[in-house]
């Protein structure tokens, strides 16, 4: 793998670290499997790219992308909480609707940002080569947002959100309004994912209507890889493990694609993703079974 490819992998891994934190909030904290992210990743990219092309400040554009993502998340929460549509289905509906909305926002299937100013523009004067600058910038973003979320999850509000996902009845008995926590959690999660989309568009120079496909699987893969490597209850470490998981997942994918003897091409990405996630899911279970069998054997002898 060339240095350039390696830096590219790190950059994408860090951007998807934000997605992983968002997915962690819904899947693990709220126990609400939310597929909206496939749409809100593109939504963030579409909003940011369209606004930048129109001449808005890139930071304002990224902020608006976050707001748009939050609204998408609230939409899913509303379908689920107000009309009792199954969470998974509610999120699929929002995701499907977002596909059209994203096309409408961009007005065409993709928007190029090659010559436009981006969130990176103010730092270009520092003279750091672009490939390092991108990695440093998205790395700082991932770390900053990660720390904020880790702090949030340890506040009283964050604790109440975790209780909502863990034990609704107990949460209510302790005065926690669970609907509000679900709205807030989905908004926060999708805002993070939309920011990731906006950053992706600006570091890669384009927004495309299909760029969000598979976001949920990648995010989930990162969460699971992180969990199986750094199993912990410490919130700082958990958020950190989401980012590490995302980086490792990206590295594994790019190594699989780069290993000539395997003969994979870029179009095999989804198969590799599915296989990696399956392995990450199955390994802990196999390890348990193996340990149980060993214990049984020892008990016999």
């Amino acid at each position: 793998m060339s240095l350039f490819a390696f830096m590219g992998t790190l950059e994408i891994g860090l951007v998807y670290g934000l997605v992983a934190i968002g997915v962690y909030l819904t899947f693990r904290v709220l126990d609400f499997p939310d597929l909206t992210v496939d749409g809100s990743f593109t939504l963030g990219a579409a909003v940011a790219a369209s606004m930048i092309v129109t001449g808005f400040n890139p930071y304002l554009a990224t902020g608006c992308a976050a707001l748009a993502g939050a609204m998408a998340g609230m939409c899913t929460a509303w379908l689920n909480l107000r009309f009792n549509i199954l969470h998974l289905l509610a999120s699929i509906l929002t995701m499907t609707a977002l596909y059209t909305i994203n096309l409408r926002i961009m007005g065409k299937p993709n928007v190029a940002l090659i010559m436009e100013p981006t969130v990176l523009s103010p730092f270009e004067a520092l003279g750091i080569p672009a490939m390092y600058l991108k990695v440093i910038f998205v790395g700082i973003c991932a770390l900053l947002f990660g720390l904020l979320i880790a702090f949030f999850l340890q506040t009283q509000y964050g604790l109440a959100m975790r209780a909502t996902g863990a034990n609704k009845r107990m949460a209510q008995a302790n005065g926690i309004v669970i609907k509000e926590k679900i709205y807030a959690g989905l908004a926060l999660s999708n805002a993070l994912v939309a920011v990731a989309g906006a950053l992706f568009a600006q570091t890669n120079g384009f927004a495309d209507s299909t760029m969000g496909i598979g976001t949920i699987v990648v995010g989930l893969a990162a969460v699971i890889v992180g969990e199986s490597l750094i199993g912990t209850r410490n919130m700082w470490l958990i958020v950190f493990s989401c980012i590490i998981g995302s980086l490792l997942y990206r590295l594994a994918v790019s190594m699989a694609l780069n290993a000539d003897f395997l003969g994979f091409t870029a179009s095999d990405l989804n198969l590799i993703t599915a296989a990696l996630v399956a392995i990450a899911l199955v390994l802990p279970q196999l390890r348990r079974e193996w340990k149980a069998r060993q214990a049984a054997r020892e008990a016999q002898s």
Binding site: T155, Y157, A160, N167, M170, Q172, A173, G175
Partner: protein
């Protein structure tokens, strides 16, 4: 303190599965009274507690706490007044959170600050002091995951959690039924301590006749969604378990079967 007027609860109204769980309960429980509630399965004991807590909306009638009409308030709106402990030891705590995090959640029951750290040294000290009362060594395991503790330990902590914030009403729904006899005795012991200390108004549902007479100052018997017997004062002190059993038999109209009913005889 608690006043129910013609309280009715109907499940699945208008459907073939319609069930009238409470058929007009009139009840006045003055402040500081400890009421034990008994009745056979399906009598409406848990429904009555859940209606008072706000988990189940009333289909008719009113519920008042003092002068405050709370009939329309959801459960989360009543937590200033009501604390509760569930029958299932797993229901009252979050298994994937630590002991101190669970206690911090309960600490926020009355007033939930928002974006400040949920835990700090001052709170940990309060939690440690509380946990010492249990004599289970839990004061040294504040950062242990709740899911790793036994049912008895979790239920004891649930009980402490219910008393972390001042409340006026404590609702106990067979909170010792799922515990082994020794742990059940411990939990009952702490219950009595907390109730005496905080001068709470208590409703305790129980299946044990012994418990129903040994604890509290008043005993209610529910049958088919109504209060059929209300015992207190001198009369209650004269009562024996066998007298209660006789009442049960009368209510159900099948005295002979009673001897086999382990739930009723359980002490």
């Amino acid at each position: 303190m608690i006043r129910c007027e013609n309280l009715r609860v109907t499940f699945n109204p208008g459907l073939p599965t319609e069930k009238k769980a409470l058929r007009g309960v009139d009840l006045v429980i003055p402040e500081g009274e400890f009421v034990t509630v008994i009745g056979s399965n399906g009598a409406g004991k848990s429904t009555l507690l859940n209606a008072i807590a706000g988990d189940i909306p009333a289909s008719g009638g009113t519920i008042l706490f003092g002068d405050k009409d709370v009939t329309k308030l959801p459960a989360t709106g009543r937590t200033r007044d009501v604390a509760r402990v569930f029958q299932d030891p797993l229901a009252g705590t979050c298994g994937n959170m630590t002991v101190e995090e669970n206690m911090a959640l309960a600490y926020g029951r009355v007033e939930r600050g928002n974006l400040s750290f949920a835990l700090n040294d001052r709170l940990r000290e309060i939690f440690r002091t509380q946990l010492k009362r249990l004599n289970l060594g839990l004061e040294n395991r504040l950062d242990a995951e709740m899911g790793l503790l036994s049912g008895g330990q979790r239920q004891s902590i649930s009980l402490l959690m219910s008393a972390l914030q001042p409340s006026k009403i404590l609702l106990l729904d067979e909170h010792t039924a799922a515990l082994d006899p020794k742990t059940a005795a411990l939990v009952m012991d702490i219950t009595s301590q907390i109730v005496a200390e905080k001068k709470l108004t208590v409703m305790m549902v129980t299946h044990s006749m012994r418990q129903a007479l040994d604890y509290g100052t008043r005993t209610l018997m529910l049958h088919e969604g109504k209060v059929i017997f209300d015992l207190s004062g001198e009369e209650r002190r004269q009562y024996q378990v066998k007298d209660l059993l006789a009442l049960f038999a009368k209510a159900r109209g099948d005295g002979e079967e009673l001897d086999d009913d382990k739930l009723l005889l359980g002490s």
